[in-house]
Amino acid sequence: MSIFELANPKRFMEVSGLFLPWIAAAAAVALVAGLILGFGVPPDYQQGDTVRIMFVHVPASTTAMMAYGAMAVASAVGLINRHPLADVAAKTAAPLGAVFTALGLITGSLWGKPMWGAWWVWDGRLTSFLLLLLLYLGYIALGSAIEDETRSARACAILAIIGAVNLPIIYFSVNWWTTLHQGNSIFAGKIAPAFLWPLFLMMGGYTLLFFSLWLVRIRTEILNRRARTLMLSRAA
């Protein structure tokens, strides 16, 4: 089966309905296991118990960026292939991404205060991540400002694609500019294995949670559009 068969809303409802419970269950298992392991690890030799904030801060932040990437890809597909389902996918990812971004900022601030002595600093990483939140909010505002569905989707898609430039900026910001934020340490082998396990479980859990909720929101929008079409056909 090709991915484009899934672009048919009816087929999408069938297949997503089949996979959804499993993805949601896997998310729950990963989150519970991650929490248990996360509170089981010893305090870090430098950061003490604040290291546990990592298990909610890093997953929220990476999921926020991944959600934006997914939204930008869906936007590009919607723009190029003119497919309504891609527009729906992009539109429904935005509020979820905004929540993950806000959580990344809040938990980061709560980690920054005890470790750096500051809730906030205007460095490259923090500022570009704040820009991510503004991009999400701008996207949502733009979408609700234009009433025509197709025009709204097109304008939003352009914003989403241009905003994607911010993703590599966030990622490399810690290398490019002086910062208090720690560097990209996960894949650089700078974290002890005892901390990596809960971190990976939480990252997996957050990612799967995002995909479960994203699917539910796409399915919801498909039902809403079906209802609208029904009402219009009856009015005619």
Binding site: L96, V99, I106, L213, L230, M231
Partner: protein, 53 residues
């Protein structure tokens, strides 16, 4: 137990971080499911009224 609650003296930062995460994710889940149920009910009502005509 007290060690667990005090988080090595960082309770004021660790617990709010987890609380904020739980509240944020929790509200997102509840809102998403509520919208799904509402859409399902609305479409169901429309289709019922169609078959009743």
């Amino acid at each position: 137990m007290n060690d667990f609650l005090s988080q090595g003296g960082y309770a004021l930062y660790v617990w709010p971080a987890y609380a904020a995460s739980a509240i944020g994710l929790g509200c997102m889940i509840v809102a998403t499911l509520a919208a799904w149920r509402k859409a399902k009910r609305a479409l169901g009502a429309l289709q019922d009224s169609e078959t009743n005509i």
